[in-house]
């Protein structure tokens, strides 16, 4: 533990965030896009915990607690929206949901 620095953890968080963003841009299955969004949130919480640990303060960790709470609520509502969308349109592919596209 004494050999890992703040930069190592932030590097991991940044790479994880980049992977999640690439997934959001590339994938078309809305469920997978949603999982990639969650991955970006997890990367942000990782950075928060790392800053909190290396600055010897508790506030970042408490903020992560709230982020997890909000993410849980968000997943519930988002998945309900996706299910409602599937009922109406019969697909969850972002390519086929083009009603608003000119």
């Amino acid at each position: 533990m004494e050999h890992t620095t703040l930069a190592h953890h932030l590097l991991l968080a940044g790479l994880l965030f980049a992977l999640g963003l690439a997934g959001v841009l590339v994938r078309r299955n809305l469920l997978v896009v949603y999982m990639c969004l969650e991955l970006m949130l997890a990367a942000a919480t990782l950075a928060l915990v790392a800053f909190s640990r290396f600055n010897r303060t508790m506030d970042g960790a408490v903020l992560v607690f709230f982020v997890i709470t909000v993410a849980a609520a968000e997943v519930a509502v988002g998945l309900a929206l996706i299910v409602a969308l599937y009922r109406r349109r019969g697909t969850v592919s972002s390519e086929r949901l083009d009603v608003l596209r000119p």
Partner: protein, 177 residues
Amino acid sequence: MPDGLFIFFAALTLGAASLLVLSRNAVTSAMGMILALVGVAADFFLLDAYFLGVLQVLVYAGAVMVLFLFIIMLLDTEDPTDSYPWRKAAGGLAVFFLLAAGVLWLFHWSGAVPNTPAGATPPELTAAPSEFATAAKAFGRLLYTKYLLPLEIAGLLLLTALVGVVSLSKDAPAGQA
């Protein structure tokens, strides 16, 4: 050099995240997501945030991903006519490499992020009101004193989400489908 456990869990997290992004099968993607979240939780443990690590495994890798798997299996999201969008994939890969290069530059060559050792306290934080502690008790004390109002708001938010999900998942009115 970082220690072996960190390298192992970082590699596990990044590999599982790549599996999530690259796999065509949604269930495989979900499995990669679970592995990646467990890797993040292990990193929380390495950062002495034991309570958050346990919470991450219970809430994220447990409840949230089970919900995802239920929905994936309920919806039958396989679309055989789909082809992989290579141009969009190239764009996404370019974004990924740009971001990754920026992150590497920021942390290894720009010198903007200080390499504070784990035990040392930066001088401007020695008078911090909340000391870092690993016990769940420290969380509880902060949550019910300094962060009482956000805690109440979070509870209200969960209630709102509950009501919203119930009203969303009712049957759509006839004739609108």
